[in-house]
Symmetry: D2
Subunit: 288 residues, 4 copies
């Protein structure tokens, strides 16, 4: 369980004893943890439409001494990149053999933890959303751009009207300008979350487009913006994250899309195959 | 074991009984299986500098009736994309739950098979080659472009002078024009192999640059062009291949690079971190 | 007038005196100049479905001594890159001041020559094709990729469903696989023509999609594959070509699209503007 | 002369009569016009390290009634995108023929105005900076990405160690992290200026790298961050800007680089040519 989730679970234990107004405020706070981590009680109150005093009283009702005490706890739930870097410096240097073992067994763990978190209903809902979208935009920034490229290409090969963007900023805003309710946006974002991805999903929601998130926590900035989500475990022996389990989720999604309407998909595969062979780009241009 | 490898093993059983000239011819054939699959005995002979009759006699010495019989066997060792598509059409449609199980357990299998094929010496040699390269070009086409993007970005974050190319054809040729012996090219290519990747590695070898292949068979077109290689198992429940184990190989490589000189790498990570924070691109711009 | 065009004009002078069969053969030759430049009379005949003797007799009817003499003329009409490089080596080194003068006055010449070749009907036809396309793929390889990127982005900003591809080979083939008759492909290619662009336009024509070429000669490989075309003069003081006049053609096209339905376009511009301002990517996020 | 330049000229007329402190404040204001356009006198003072009263007195010394009056003038010097869109809506729809004439003659005007602003010394300094850089990063966002792609590719073809980035945000920050004093950054940015480009040039200056700007005004956000600059006139008959004259500036730069050391450059051109021919990507793979 990530720190964010345990914080959420901890706070929700108090929910039954809260007033309706306090419950609304708590939900606002859970939706804006990264804001709360640095805002004053007054600022949080202003955004939520309540007084600073109401914010402080909620903190006390949740078992904290006051707002500062509460905020300290919120901050501690955020993973720290600096801490990750420091951890690397103090680690005992492994020999190559044990490194293979450690990396691959951690990734087996990532796969099995991720598999357990996949809900059958969610998978089916994602498959339906992809089948019915007029156009599909897949977006991930930084390291997630690799997954976004893989997924968009795989969708295209199966005949779905997908595309991706490898640039950010202005180009994301340009795509966002023409999204509408028949479109689907698939956002991919892991800790350390990139603003562009969240901004694109927010825009998609505003115009009524469908949204899917592939992310690492149910309380990640993009998870809260998505109609459907896949939660991926990304533990790594190094400073960074592992995208191995995320790649397996993409394998699953592609297989589920394929078997949902194998006839339609294999027809697309045949078209792609014949176009590839004509292009002369492949080394082995033949079949048995 | 892939069909290519079993063919190779089968043919090499006969090696002790062959003449020196036949052994050279057999090596030529093993190096050019995709050519042999479609060339006549005379064409193979001409390329190898022997007569058609010599080619035929070798086939007989290897236990085949003649060249046609041998060639048929060679062709059968190539995976067939059309067959893969046909397999999909006849498969029993799985329910979503069993699909999760099937995809993830096949990927666990891919991971453990891949881990077993990683040689410690090869990993160390790759790490050294990356540390000493003046510049590193990572290239993969089609679906492999995603891995190439991930690896190039991860290397940059660790401070290595890496870049990738997302385009092919002319741009690959342009990069190839200025490669020299202090450079390193990492090629990523899986069945159905793309010509551009092999062409780039061939060029790299010509000019004396170092070469690394991430591929799916020791007899793949790029494996034979590489100084060092990682062999990845890519089995999939669908028409396509799984890149899950390949992603785990990249995790391993990044970790091995990091621990080889943690001080140098963490200094790079700190520079990147501070530049990211200044840029304001991340949602959480702070550390505990 | 380029060498290709003067050759074409020269050959067509003889057309009235040719038999129907000879006229068909001449058209085949004009369509395949780059093949003819290196094929034998027999090879040309086989491709065209006539005898070698028929090819030779046509050459004589066109005023040449025979096929070799004709082929020599064809070859001479192709610009030579090696010659361009050699020219650079022998040029007198200009002082910087005269270089500014030479480059800019040559580009003024490129603009005025290009403007004269723009047909009003062709411009209107291109505007209509863009307005009615279901989707628009803009493609150029090598240096033309820059124009392709500019045009695709400009079309998007005006609300047209355009996209481009910055990669070649396999990715072009993948786009080609799903083209159909309601799509439009805009190919941009100048001497030294890239195969991928021609292949994509050929595929587009096969499936009945609309095609537009931005190129440097009415007999360039892509001009012959296009429903409509803009011919751009690209003369340069260096080894390469100038894309200055091509950029002005794109300015013209954008203006013509805008004024064709200013209401629809300004609505798109307002959506883009508001999305840009929300994104915070621009330095000046305001209007007077 | 753009509005910014005339404002600058106007304000500098008063410079001789200002105290040293006021001169420093005026320079701060000229460097931060887009900030001043929206900040209060107090905010400007705080940033500049003086009191609000000092800001107001400077405004009066410059001939304005007070800060509000001065700020109004500053705001008026910024071009307005909304105004540009409105202009389009009211324009008389031109027939296609006159549009060709208008677009091309405006671009001839853009070329000649741009040529006049090119300083011979600046051109030579840019050529030297490119020749001596260890590595060259060319960057432009939005529509300027097209010019950046063209320039980076042209530099590579001439054998210079150039690259570009087509993505923004995080990837720009990653490049920025490892810049150092032997590197060169060429930023391309026109009104409406993109933050990423300015951020990258700022970073380059911080670490002592060389910087070149291709932009539309000597007071544009990136002009002030550049060691050397080319000012391009970008007037357009539509809502957008024309990059035609910018393309001509790139032609000039390429020619100047080529003639600075034709021997070195033609050797690079020959290597590229031979690599292109080997790649089989070009339609005409031969020379006369």
């Amino acid at each position: 369980m990530t720190d964010h989730e345990s914080l959420q679970a901890h706070l929700l234990e108090h929910a039954p004893r809260l007033s309706e107004k306090q419950t609304r405020l708590l939900n606002f706070i859970l939706d804006n943890l990264s804001y709360v981590a640095f805002a004053s009680a007054g600022e949080v109150g202003r955004k939520a439409g309540v007084s600073a005093a109401t914010v402080v009283r909620l903190c006390q009702a949740l078992g904290y001494k006051g707002y500062a005490d509460f905020q300290k706890h919120v901050r501690e739930t955020f993973p720290s990149y600096t801490a990750a870097i420091e951890r690397v410096e103090t680690i005992e240097v492994a020999d190559a053999a044990s490194l293979v073992e450690r990396v691959f067994s951690l990734n087996v763990h990532n796969l099995s933890e991720t598999a357990q978190r996949i809900s059958q209903e969610e998978l089916e809902a994602v498959v339906e959303a992809i089948y019915k979208a007029r156009s599909i935009l897949v977006y991930g920034a930084g390291l997630s751009a690799s997954l976004s490229l893989f997924l968009a290409q795989s969708l295209k090969i199966l005949g779905f009207p997908a595309h991706t963007l490898l640039s950010g900023g202005l180009d994301v805003a340009l795509e966002g300008a023409f999204l509408d309710s028949v479109d689907l946006v698939i956002g991919i974002s892991f800790w350390r979350y990139v603003k562009d991805t969240a901004q694109l999903l927010r825009r998609a929601k505003q115009v009524g487009a469908s949204t899917i998130a592939i992310t690492d926590s149910p309380v990640s900035p993009i998870a809260r913006l998505a109609d459907h989500k896949f939660i991926v475990i990304t533990e790594s022996v190094s400073h960074s994250i592992s995208l191995t389990a995320a790649m397996s989720v993409l394998d699953l999604l592609i297989a589920a899309l394929l078997y949902r309407d194998a006839k339609r998909c294999t027809e697309a595969l045949r078209r792609v195959n014949s176009s590839y062979e004509e292009s002369g780009s492949l080394i082995m241009n033949y079949s048995r």
